[in-house]
Symmetry: C2
Subunit: 330 residues, 2 copies
């Protein structure tokens, strides 16, 4: 049986159904859902203090603290992008330090002809990292907001039998997009303000995304006022999906069955390990996510690797796969 | 990546480790173990009343009730066996009705030159079937023993979120063997007396067993005193492992990593859905098992089918696979 046949059987059995819970599950109920490993929309995950989070509160709480913000000319951080030489690169964003008040101010939100997109998406455990849970020093740019952000979701930690590996704060608007990818983490994603729009593919349909090796690059600028440009990182390649935006008609083969789900303020998404996700957001969206290590024992990890086609994939710039990626040369 | 490579990665990650619990898990702990889907030896599953189960108690409790016992000339019920025509058949046992006192008496246990092997292994929910849990009439040959046999294991039912599909009583001795096979059920197997010896292979190593299609047959006798003979069932084939006994050296390829575990009286084995198992027992072993439906949502079912190589397998009598099966012509 091929990967194609396997994904077809998976779809025949599961369709595009996602479970909706009107209130958070118990740890035991959640443990069963983790075993099923399909996305779940969960309402009623209460984080009381974040209701206070208007811009003034955030700016005042954070004060002079500097935060790392991703800057790109196109809103696509960590995405396959065509470079000036016509080649495709996996391009990391430029990182810029600024105060929360600056990030939330007109420089970032100024309309209409701003040429750069700012997205707070540092996703390195920017609120709590695994060091925090190990009792080690864990400095955070968002130290001042920690009293508002629970380090754990009790029913998740109980179900997984462990503390999170990372807790992240995300702030961005409709111009910021996360290209489709998967993480080896169980993910609880809670929207505090605005709404997040996910396009999801199950691990079984990963072959539809044509992962390829792309040379690594970063958005950089020569001086603080210069325009961003792509700078290649020598001898460093990244495996990434060739299909950058699954929402563009024709980008996915007919065998793919994307699930589109919007998470509104006050709602949470359980995104199981290995699920492919492309993420957009409406204006001014704030979200918090808790990443938990996936269970490595048993079949889950081996299966995710298998469904990605194993260890070796072709180079993206050699393959025809890059012809229909919807990327314009810069 | 091939099935061979997948099973190799599974072995590299998991080895042949099986978890041993000194006391039964909580429902939540068990739910996590179900997700890992590896065998677990569990001590301390208490079924107080079965401690009374000596032969006299069983015979007296069951009285005149008739029970269905599997009879074969070789102790191999439900096994691939070479018929008098030289062909291999999947042969079901002859079923004989008798009283418990007769089954436990010298006819069955008479030594040493008895020509037939009796095994109580009806495994059709012989104590409780799904009808019982649905509140429907559920007549059982072992009605008289029901007060001694809990219909559910509380932490299992809570973890699975459902009642069992079937509860079975097994009584046999060292002459009775169950050929290697897998079931689409989560299985809790508790030994009451004696010991069960399992040889296990993970679903990922199923390809090592070379499933083939075998014509179906039954052990039958022409009259009540006649010897058992194989009678083929026309136009009816069964998919079964060609490797009948994985404990015979050379029967398994070197890529297989069998796990051998003995379950003693008072111990239980959690045998996850899809795990291949060959089962022997020491003298006069009594066991009870609870089968729970496996979770059909998500990937588990699709994966088990995939690991068995999908829908079509060759016919066993056409293939070279039958040459090294260790079966002698009758």
């Amino acid at each position: 049986m091929s990967l194609q046949a396997l994904s077809s059987e998976y779809y025949d059995l599961n369709g595009t159904h996602i479970e909706v819970l009107e209130e958070p599950p118990t740890a035991l109920e959640f443990s069963r859902l983790v075993h099923i490993s399909r996305p779940v929309l969960i309402r009623g995950v209460q984080i009381p203090t974040v209701r206070l989070w208007d811009d003034d509160y955030l700016a005042a709480s954070m004060g002079e603290a500097e935060i790392s913000v991703a800057v790109t000319p196109n809103g696509h951080a960590d995405a396959v992008t065509r470079g000036p030489d016509g080649k495709l690169y996996f391009v990391e964003p430029h990182l810029e330090k600024m105060k929360m008040s600056e990030f939330l101010g007109p420089k970032v939100r100024g309309e209409p002809h701003r040429s750069e997109i700012y997205y707070l998406q540092s996703q390195n455990g920017n609120v709590y990292s695994n060091r925090f849970f190990e009792g080690a020093p864990d400095p955070s740019e968002f130290e001042a907001l920690r009293p508002d952000i629970p380090s754990e979701i009790p029913w998740c930690s109980a179900a997984f039998g462990r503390s999170p590996d990372a807790v992240n704060l995300w702030i961005g608007n409709h111009e910021s997009v996360t290209s489709i990818h998967s993480d080896p983490y169980e993910n609880i994603y809670t929207v505090v303000r605005g709404s997040k729009h996910f396009t999801l593919l199950p691990p079984a349909e990963g072959w539809c995304l044509q992962e390829r090796m792309y040379p690594h690059a970063k958005w950089t600028r020569e001086s603080s006022n210069a325009a961003l440009a792509i700078t290649a990182s020598p001898n460093f390649s990244i495996r990434w999906a060739s299909v950058v935006d699954p929402d563009i008609p024709g980008n996915l083969p007919p065998e793919a069955h994307p699930i589109r789900v919007s998470i509104e303020a006050g709602e949470s998404l359980f995104l199981p390990a290995g699920w492919w996700h492309h993420v957009r957001q409406s204006d001014e969206t704030i979200a918090i996510n808790w990443w938990y290590d996936m269970e490595m024992r048993g079949m889950s990890w081996v299966l995710l690797s298998f469904l990605r086609g194993g260890g070796d994939v072709p180079y993206g710039n050699d393959a025809d796969a890059s012809d229909n990626d919807g990327q314009e040369p810069l």
